[in-house]
């Protein structure tokens, strides 16, 4: 036992106390912060995209302007809610003392209307002043995503659509710039051409969206929505309804609350906690997959190192092949558990010192610690590790170099990552057919049952598939153990056909 511990400790120390591991621990959360900061920064600093409209009908430009303004106002309310989440006193948020419509809430047309009627953002800033943390900065309106510039006179004055197209091209190709009165000339991102006769009729010509950027279709969506809304308005007006009625109809939004049947009436309404609890098994499954593969790779590389360096012979004069194998399994398994443990304790520490417990991480960690998910993760980690680690160990034992190992790694990688695309289906329908099939394939049982952990799969399925998986894990440990013990000492790696012989029986 002492020997197993010594080997395990050496393996563990080699990786966990290495500069690489420390850097990973520092870099991983920093990387996450950096990525989210970069996305936020990119979003905030996305320049306002300027465009022009050539409207031969003269009817739809205002519709486009209105749609852009409507969307901008909604996004500004979202930004306002985030501003309050960071800058309002936690007790004010908890006690719902901030007056509606300024208090954080669902962002929809009704709230936007109420927001406007209550005086907009200036009034909002005044209204929340007593509830802000000391020293909180004022709210800054987000940058607008789009801005319509007036079409240059040489285009606006054209009567022919084809001529307009030809004249707009140099602007879109940035050979010419568009200027608003008194402002610096700017490049345009897109041009919208609305031909004479545009309308809802089958023979009516289509509006045209011109842009060099074919990946960013946000403006195209806005224009489509604006023009569709205008056509509906025209149709409804044609039926004799007033404009106000149309605006009222357009502002209608169904309110749907989600409930879960497995909770009591008062707790049944779906909350953020519920959504996080449902998503946690998926996050843990992907972590399981990544860590199992990472740990397997560590086992593979260090077994190859010991084999090619011939250290294994000295080791085997001091310990048995079984002790060596167990020591390696325990040591690298502990490395695989250390990473999530550090992140968990780090997260718990961070949420404890955090002023608010209403944050996403706080809810996620509370759900994780208060549910059996961690125990389930530990159990399935050990099972998946027993299966896959033995495969990687055996490959290490039959390879003198990583190059040798590559020929075996191809199929193994395929097997390891094969369930990935199906995991989305399991997440969406955790008690569906795909979930059941994956559950009963022992090599994927840990992933499938981890993913289904929050969906209460049938207990007979859990017990049956787990028993089958345990039997398979024992089988793999025996077979791969035989290969490891016999192959590790062979001077030259055994050929593929010999591996089958090694797996079948242990020669004395």
């Amino acid at each position: 036992m002492k020997q197993i511990f010594l080997i395990a400790w050496r393996e563990y120390k080699q990786y966990v106390f290495s500069r690489g591991f420390f850097l990973f621990l520092v870099m991983f959360p920093l990387g996450l912060v950096a990525v989210s900061a970069a996305i936020g920064l990119a979003e905030r600093n996305k320049p306002t995209r300027a465009f022009i409209v050539y409207d031969q009908t003269g009817e739809y430009t205002d519709d486009i302007d209105r749609e852009i303004e409507r969307r901008y106002f909604l996004s500004a309310i979202s930004a306002w809610d985030m501003y309050l989440a960071v800058n309002a006193k936690p007790e004010a948020l908890a006690k719902d003392v901030i007056p509606p419509p300024f208090a954080p809430n669902a962002v929809n047309e009704a709230r936007a209307q109420a927001f406007r009627e209550a005086g907009g953002f200036d009034a909002a800033q005044q209204a929340v002043k007593p509830f802000l943390k000391p020293g909180a900065l004022g709210f800054v309106m987000p940058r607008a995503s789009f801005e319509r510039l007036p079409a240059p006179p040489r285009i606006a004055g054209l009567a022919n659509l084809q001529e307009a197209e030809e004249n707009i091209r140099p602007y879109l190709l940035e050979e010419r710039l568009v200027a608003r009165d008194g402002e610096k000339p700017r490049k345009i991102f897109a041009a919208i051409l609305i031909p004479e006769g545009f309308g809802a009729g089958e023979d009516a010509p289509a509006a045209q969206y011109w842009s060099r950027n074919i990946t960013d279709n946000a403006l195209e969506s806005v224009v489509t929505a604006a023009l569709s809304s205008a056509l509906r308005r025209d149709a409804i007006t044609g039926l004799g309804l007033p404009q106000e009625a149309l605006d009222g109809i357009a502002a209608l939004q169904a309110s749907v609350d989600s409930y879960r049947p497995d909770k009591t009436a008062e707790d049944a309404q779906l909350s953020l906690e519920d959504r996080i609890e449902t998503a946690l098994p998926a996050a843990l499954t992907y972590m399981l997959l990544v860590i199992i593969f990472g740990a397997g790779n560590l086992l593979l590389t260090n077994t190859i190192e010991e084999r090619s360096n011939k250290i294994v012979e000295i080791l085997l004069s001091s310990v048995t092949a079984n002790q060596l194998m167990m020591g390696k399994l325990v040591g690298i398994g502990a490395v695989g558990l250390t990473m999530p443990a550090i992140f968990l304790f780090g997260g718990l520490g961070a949420s404890l010192v955090s002023a608010s417990d209403e944050n996403f991480m706080g809810i996620a960690l509370t759900s994780l610690v208060s549910s059996p998910l961690l125990l389930i993760y530990l159990f399935y980690f050990l099972c998946a590790y027993a299966i896959f680690a033995m495969i990687f160990l055996a490959i290490g034992a039959v390879s003198n170099s990583l190059q040798d190992a590559q020929s075996y790694m191809g199929p193994v990688m395929l097997i390891v990552f094969l369930p990935l695309p199906f995991m989305v289906m399991v997440f969406q329908n955790p008690n569906g057919l795909v979930a059941s099939i994956l559950t009963w394939i022992p090599i994927y049982t840990p992933y499938a049952l981890m993913m289904r952990a929050a969906a209460d799969p049938p207990i007979w399925e859990v017990i049956g598939a787990t028993a089958l998986m345990l039997a398979f894990a024992i089988f793999m440990m025996r077979i791969m153990g035989r290969i490891f013990r016999q192959a590790i000492l062979q001077a030259s790696p055994p050929k593929a056909r010999d591996i089958w012989r090694l797996a079948r029986h242990e020669t004395s």
């Binding site: 080699q14 011939k310 000492l489």
Partner: protein, 320 residues
């Protein structure tokens, strides 16, 4: 308490149809330096691995330090494999201490002994250097120290001199002698006959998995044809005609004399030859008896093996 440290009885190791070691038996006495000689592929390393119970024999029995398996007495054994290796990222002292701990020492005493040994072998300043930073010679020394750090009763060294420069070879010879003085038993395999000649109390020569010879150097020499070296101005024809002479070869000329090597037939004593030479009127300026060197014996046995191989028809030919 037995005086036998290691005993192999009719040990055979087969890998499928290939017999690596064939019916090998020998005993190694306590406190003895025992040489394991043989050409490449003779079965030396396989035999050593079987002694250590790293691999199990197909047939036969092995007793080591009074036990049926080296596993139960491994803390009393030190093993240096032929192909050396250390963990590249481990420090020198850590490496020695790690293997000492695996063989039962506490961490404190393993580290203390590691530092003491490194100091003794002039490597103390590299104690905290990673193995990958050591020169090849230094790394080999560190590896040797991992073998003796737990002060084993039995040392099994597989080709310990290979790859060492002459200075380190001397150091290793001295270390082996010192270990023997301290009452330890040493078994080592080697290709370098001079080391075996200088160090071994007894040795075993293997070829094709079989034992070809076991005994002392004197016993080996006695088994081979006697040789005489003599110096004479007389012509070789007189010598060839003398009774009991198998072969005469001129080795070199010194002044007007020639030095001859005479191979005598079994049963022909040097005195008998001397009398006959004087009676034949030969003028001798030097006369000495020369035993076969271990090198000669080794080569002779290896040649026998080659002859056997050539003489043995393969299965296909036999069937035809």
């Amino acid at each position: 308490m037995s005086d036998i440290s290691v005993s192999l009885k009719n040990v055979t190791k087969q890998y499928g149809a290939f017999t690596a070691v064939d019916d090998l038996s020998f005993d190694v006495a306590k406190g003895e330096i025992y040489g394991f000689l043989g050409p490449n592929g003779a079965g030396k390393t396989t035999s050593l691995r079987m002694m250590l119970d790293i691999i199990a024999p197909t047939k036969g029995s092995i007793s080591i330090l009074g036990s049926d398996s080296a596993i139960s007495v491994r803390r009393r054994i030190g093993y240096l494999p032929e192909e050396r290796g250390l963990y590249r990222k481990m420090k020198a002292a850590e490496s020695i201490a790690y293997f000492a701990q695996l063989r039962g020492l506490s961490r404190t005493s393993a580290l203390a002994r590691a530092h003491a040994l490194l100091e003794r072998f002039g490597l103390e300043e590299f104690a905290r250097s990673k193995n990958e930073a050591l020169s090849k010679g230094m790394a080999q020394k560190v590896q040797l120290l991992t073998t003796i750090v737990h002060e084993p009763e039995l040392l099994i060294l597989d080709e310990p001199f290979s790859g060492l420069d002459p200075i380190n070879q001397q150091t290793l010879e001295a270390l082996i002698r010192e270990q023997r003085r301290n009452g330890r038993t040493i078994i080592f395999s080697t290709h370098v006959m001079q080391h075996a000649e200088r160090l071994c109390d007894r040795f075993l020569i293997m070829a094709q998995g079989k034992k070809r010879f076991e005994g002392t150097l004197a016993e080996a020499q006695a088994k081979f044809a006697q040789r005489l070296h003599l110096r004479s101005p007389a012509p070789v024809s007189i010598l060839q005609a003398l009774p009991g002479v198998v072969a005469v070869s001129a080795e070199e000329r010194l002044g007007g004399d020639t030095i001859y090597e005479i191979e005598l037939a079994d049963g022909t004593g040097p005195q008998h030859f001397l009398k006959a030479a004087i009676a034949a009127g030969m003028e001798l300026t030097r006369f000495e008896q020369a035993g076969a060197t271990l090198h000669d014996i080794f080569v002779a046995l290896a040649e026998d093996e080659e002859t056997e191989k050539t003489a043995q028809p393969d299965a296909g030919e036999a069937a035809a």
